[in-house]
């Protein structure tokens, strides 16, 4: 019960983060969903037996299933490696990690929300190249301004 709820909370938080603009939040969502997946594996092993699978002749009646633990252990490390890679992607390139930035995202920077299929189709097939060639400061939205303000304010002196 508690483990199932924990998984649910983690998944909810992860999905919320993944639906955001910045890649960093998407990566954090990925970290949370990895936790959720790992705990689901642990749940599959059963939470009624919680003894550590260590030592000589562990009692099968009270000892936890070791197989999901082995799965989870490697899964954690793999998720870590993927997280590193995703974080690197967030910090690489010319723009910051905002995936809706003026040179990418929703083709021309129009924000149409998380609803599927609701994409601006104005010149969709050809606008990508044109958008890339555009002045990166064209079509700045309030968010963009906000990010610029970040740089200026920083920590108060």
């Amino acid at each position: 019960m508690t483990l199932a709820l924990t998984v649910g909370v983690l998944v909810a938080g992860a999905v919320y983060l993944m639906m955001q603009r910045g890649l960093v939040r998407v990566v954090l969502g990925f970290v949370l969903v990895a936790h959720a997946a790992n705990l689901t594996l642990m749940a599959a092993g059963g939470t009624d037996r919680r003894g550590e699978p260590l030592g000589q002749q562990p009692d099968p009646a009270t000892t936890a299933d070791a197989l999901p633990q082995a799965f989870v252990l490697t899964a954690i490390v793999i998720a870590f490696a993927i997280t590193i890679y995703l974080l690197v992607l967030a910090a690489a390139g010319r723009e910051d990690d905002d995936t809706d930035g003026p040179t990418g995202g929703d083709m021309g920077g129009t924000d149409v929300g998380p609803h599927l299929g609701e994409v601006s189709t104005v010149g969709a097939g050809t606008s990508r190249g044109a958008a890339d060639a555009e002045d990166p400061h064209e079509g700045e939205d309030p968010d963009e301004e906000m990010r610029h303000r970040d740089d200026v304010t920083g920590v108060p002196s």
Binding site: L10, A66, L87, G113
Partner: protein
């Protein structure tokens, strides 16, 4: 064998053509013409001229699929093969004078390759080979049309669309035939009894073959490409229209004629579409003023005749079709080449602009008249004989008499128009006052050189000779028609002898010919009035080219619309799709839940609720966080709680791993975040609501799934086995570790490889895209110890000096004891990596941080070590990665430990990669070391203009010469330099000079 030699030689000629053309220029055409002529003569000599005899050849190609390079020469192949090679030879010789002095290697190469493809097509006795050759001709024509330059590109694409579409129909026909008849051999498949047993199958394949042939032979409604393809140069058109491309469709129809002659779809479709096309093409030809366009539509019309006659299917009709194929090849190649001569000499081929050619170019005029009369069906030319035979064939239309009369009537109507446009062609070019001056901007035409004219005169003259001396071509037509009518395979009556004489007595077809000529003459005499009525008038609201172009642009637009649905860079669009699908699946799954086992007792304990509460708090804080750093830290804390979960669930190894990974994730995350804005971009409300709704749904579904699908069974048999046998089998008492390195070592090895690749991918990604510059706040008070890494980390650095050796030892100890107690390669490595991270964090500067281990070497060594252990297991125990024991004194070591060392090395390597790449560590041999001015330069380059403007004036040694060297450095060095220069060097916003001073003192301290 002779067939293979012929095909190979033609292909070799095609391969040699470009080199020949480079060496000889346009004169290469003469050599190639000689080659094709020789090949044609060889084909003629080696051919079986007796009824039913064939030459066969076969080598296996894809034996599993029964596909073979089967070649078969029968009468039909012979007729078409000779046309391909001999007309090809004429066109090549013509090209040698037609082409300019420009490069022509592509032209010659493609033309001869075209001939080779056509030859294979007509010789193929394998359905797959037939299809391949068919597609090769499609591609050849496409490339030949594009050769004519930008004007040819749109027509070439339209041609490809139509003909390749027809190729798909042929592919479907081939596949269906192979499946239905169980053989890929064409002759066997055609003779198969399934066609008569299954009328639906026969109709389907007949329809597919028809569609394929209609696209290739430009029949309605696919006729538009042929006039469109006129954009190609004249030799290409001559070959395309006379012997190659369009004749492939006719060949296909004739080849399948014996099989489908009795299928209603076949004969009704062929006769109907053929006659419609004949009439329509002729009508369009009447409207053209461009001689070449006129000829193009005349080809459409003549092909219509051929298709209709083939559709009749009787042996007489097939004879007529073969005869007219030969006649058409002769007069059409002559006409195209002669129009090319006119174009070349007079500078135009527009009828209104052509003047005075009658006197200036008499030979050309006579030749064109002769060829055109053959096309018009005037005796004593070959075209008369073949057309008359076609009239007679049309009257034989299977079905009621009125249908035959109707078919014949339409045929005569088309022939009337044929006569009329033939007259327009000749009189339009050579009629009119002979003395008139040429139209403005054109030179005075002269007769062309003999070498230019001869290739065009030959087929025109052949039309006369063969018309008068029909018995010369009769054997070819006879054997061809015999093969097409299937005299040998289906037992139909043999043609015995195609009577190609001029006079057969008074009969209906003579009357039809006379009518056509008489009415045609009337139209020619009234040609000025007819022209006024027809030229430039739009007869139908749609044009074929318009329809094809509409389809082309429409499909591109539709594709753009479809791709726009997913064509976004925003990850959430791509992530939302599977999430929504999963939610739907979960919803469906909930309704199907039934009869689940009761849950086990004691699944939940008191402490769980505390952990749940902590996770809830953490997640709520994370999703509400506005600062990137805050969110990262809280996610790390959530990870700690998850580690606690593992502890209470009895998974100590997992908990340790989780804990260490969380620490390292935060370290790596911080290295990334300093290059990004502090705060997240605020999201609009509607998105927040949408994301929250999806999140709640997903969370609920996940909870429901875990509740429904877990905790309802006892220990799994596998789990029981591991608990019971781990020590006995492996000597280890840490069951989790024994699973990782003993029982499931191959899995672990795979996962290790994923780790290594992730590490390599990080390096690869950053070698192609630079990291963003640092955004560290620059408004700290000057002189604050916080801004000086050298001073602010004194305590930590001192501590690290003591701790680092200790933790390194612990790390190795964890690795060592992992088999029996919590620890192992993963955990030990993470502790070691955490030590390196600590050393990195307390270092005086990024560039000097002591994590200069060659990371790629670590990763590679780890993977290689694991492979070596695996191979050792293979050798000693007979199974890859199976561990074994090595005695060391009175103790022993298991190779699983060595495997774990490999794990250790790889994991450490991945973390070191992250620290080095993101942390700006200067690796030995890659950077300029402590070269101060270059530091400043690299810094300047990466800052945006505003910032550098504030910095530059007082920066020392930033000369233009060094700027150059700064720009040439690799992104890797630069990312390291810019960071060391920018962040660790002090408060650039405060005082410009202080940055340089800080570096200097830093250097002195070192």
């Amino acid at each position: 064998m002779i067939l293979l030699v012929l095909v190979v030689l033609t292909a070799a000629l095609a391969a040699a053509a470009p080199a020949l053309a480079r060496a000889m220029g346009r004169d290469a055409g003469l050599v190639l013409a000689g080659g094709l002529l020789a090949l044609g003569l060889t084909l003629g000599i080696s051919a079986p001229w007796t009824l039913g005899e064939t030459v066969d050849f076969s080598v296996p190609w894809l034996p599993v699929l029964d596909v073979a390079l089967r070649l078969r020469l029968d009468g039909l192949s012979l007729a078409f093969g000779l046309l391909v090679l001999l007309v090809g030879a004429l066109v090549m010789a013509y090209s040698a004078r037609y082409l300019g002095s420009g490069p022509c290697s592509a032209f010659y190469g493609l033309m001869v390759f075209f001939a080779a493809a056509m030859l294979v097509l007509v010789l193929a006795d394998d359905l797959v080979l037939l299809f391949v050759a068919w597609e090769a001709t499609t591609l050849c024509s496409f490339f030949l049309i594009t050769l004519s330059g930008p004007a040819g590109q749109q027509p070439a694409v339209r041609t490809l669309l139509l003909t390749a579409g027809g190729g798909l129909a042929l592919l479907a026909a081939v596949a269906t035939t192979v499946v239905a008849t169980g053989t890929t051999q064409l002759s066997q498949a055609l003779a198969s009894p399934v066609w008569s047993e299954d009328p639906l199958l026969a109709s389907t394949v007949a329809l597919l073959v028809m569609v394929a042939a209609f696209t290739k032979s430009a029949q309605f409604p696919f006729h538009s490409w042929l006039p469109d393809a006129m954009a190609a140069s004249t030799p290409v058109s001559a070959y395309l229209h006379a012997a190659a491309m369009v004749k492939a469709g006719i060949y296909l129809l004739l080849r399948f004629s014996s099989t489908f002659a009795d299928v209603p779809v076949w004969y009704v479709g062929l006769v109907g579409v053929g006659l419609l096309t004949a009439l329509m093409g002729a009508l369009y030809a009447m409207q053209r003023t461009d001689l070449k366009a006129l000829l193009a539509y005349s080809t459409v019309s003549q092909l219509g005749f051929l298709v209709a006659t083939t559709g009749i299917g009787t042996s007489y009709a097939v004879t007529a079709a073969v005869a007219h194929t030969v006649a058409h090849a002769l007069f059409k190649s002559a006409l195209f080449m002669l129009v090319g001569v006119v174009d070349h000499q007079a500078g135009t081929r527009e009828i209104p602009r052509l003047r005075g050619l009658r006197r200036a170019m008499p030979v050309t005029g006579v030749a064109m008249a002769v060829a055109a009369l053959s096309m018009a069906g005037v005796p004593p030319l070959l075209g008369f004989i073949s057309k008359e035979k076609m009239f007679a064939a049309l009257l034989e239309f299977p079905g009621p008499t009125w249908a035959g009369v109707l078919a014949g009537g339409v045929g005569v109507a088309a022939a009337v128009l044929t006569f009329a446009y033939s007259g327009r062609l000749v009189l339009g070019a050579f009629g009119g006052p002979a003395e008139e001056e040429p139209a403005e901007g054109l030179r005075r035409p002269r007769e062309a050189a003999p070498s230019f004219l001869v290739p065009a005169l030959v087929p025109a003259a052949a039309g006369v000779v063969l018309g008068l001396w029909g018995s010369a071509v009769a054997p070819l037509v006879t054997t061809g028609a015999d093969a097409a009518a299937g005299a040998t395979t289906t037992g139909r009556g043999s043609v015995t002898d195609a009577d190609l004489s001029l006079w057969h007595g008074l009969n209906p077809e003579l009357l039809m010919s006379a009518t056509a000529i008489a009415l045609g003459t009337v139209l020619v005499l009234a040609r000025h009035r007819v022209d006024r009525a027809l030229v430039g008038r739009r007869l139908f609201p749609l044009t074929g080219v318009g329809v094809v172009e509409g389809f082309r642009t429409g499909s591109i637009a539709a594709g753009a619309r479809v791709s726009a649905l997913t064509g976004s860079d925003a990850p959430r669009r791509h992530l939302a799709v599977p999430l929504v699908v999963l939610l739907v699946l979960a919803g469906v799954g909930l309704t199907q839940l039934d009869g689940l086992p009761t849950p086990q007792a004691d699944l939940t304990r008191g402490v769980d609720w505390l952990l749940l509460a902590l996770v809830v708090v953490g997640v709520v804080v994370v999703v509400r966080a506005t600062s990137r750093l805050g969110a990262l830290v809280v996610v790390g804390l959530v990870g700690f709680v998850v580690a606690l979960w593992f502890v209470v669930l009895g998974a100590m190894d997992v908990a340790l791993t989780q804990l260490l990974v969380e620490v390292l994730t935060v370290v790596v995350g911080v290295l990334v975040l300093r290059r990004l804005p502090r705060h997240f971009a605020p999201a609009p409300r509607h998105r927040t609501v949408g994301a929250a709704a999806l999140a709640v749904g997903a969370g609920a579904a996940a909870t429901a799934a875990v509740l429904a699908m877990t905790g309802r069974r006892g220990l799994s048999p596998a789990g029981e086995f591991f608990l019971a046998r781990a020590e006995e089998e492996t000597g280890g008492t840490n069951v989790v570790n024994t699973i990782l390195v003993d029982f499931r070592a191959l899995d672990t090895f795979g996962e290790l490889t994923v780790l290594g690749i992730a590490g390599v991918a990080v390096v690869a990604a950053l070698s192609s895209r630079r990291l963003l510059p640092d955004r560290a706040p620059r408004t700290w008070r000057e002189g604050s110890p916080v801004v000086s890494p050298g001073e602010s980390a004194v305590v930590a650095r001192t501590l690290a000096r003591v701790l680092a050796p200790l933790t390194l030892v612990v790390s190795l100890w964890l690795l060592w004891r992992g088999h029996d107690a919590p620890g192992g390669g993963f955990i030990g490595a993470l502790v070691g990596a955490a030590t390196l991270a600590l050393l990195f964090l307390v270092a005086r500067s990024d560039s000097s941080a002591p994590v200069k281990v060659p990371a790629a070497l670590l990763i590679g060594a780890g993977v290689v070590l694991c492979v070596a252990v695996g191979l050792a297991g293979l050798v000693v125990e007979g199974s890859f990665l199976e561990p074994f024991f090595i005695d060391v004194g009175d103790s022993y070591v298991t190779t699983a430990l060595v495997f774990d060392v490999g794990v250790y090395l790889t994991v450490v390597g991945v973390v070191v990669v992250a620290l080095q790449q993101l942390g700006g560590v200067l690796l030995p041999g890659t950077g300029p070391g402590e070269d101060e001015p270059e530091h400043r330069m690299a810094l300047e380059e990466v800052l945006d203009r505003k910032e550098s403007a504030a910095l530059a004036p007082s920066s020392e040694g930033a000369g233009p010469g060094q700027e150059q060297s700064g720009q040439e450095r690799s992104g890797l060095e630069r990312s390291g330099l810019e960071r060391s220069g920018q962040e660790r060097s002090g408060p650039p916003g405060g005082a410009d000079g202080s940055a340089g001073r800080e570096r200097t003192t830093g250097g002195a301290a070192r």
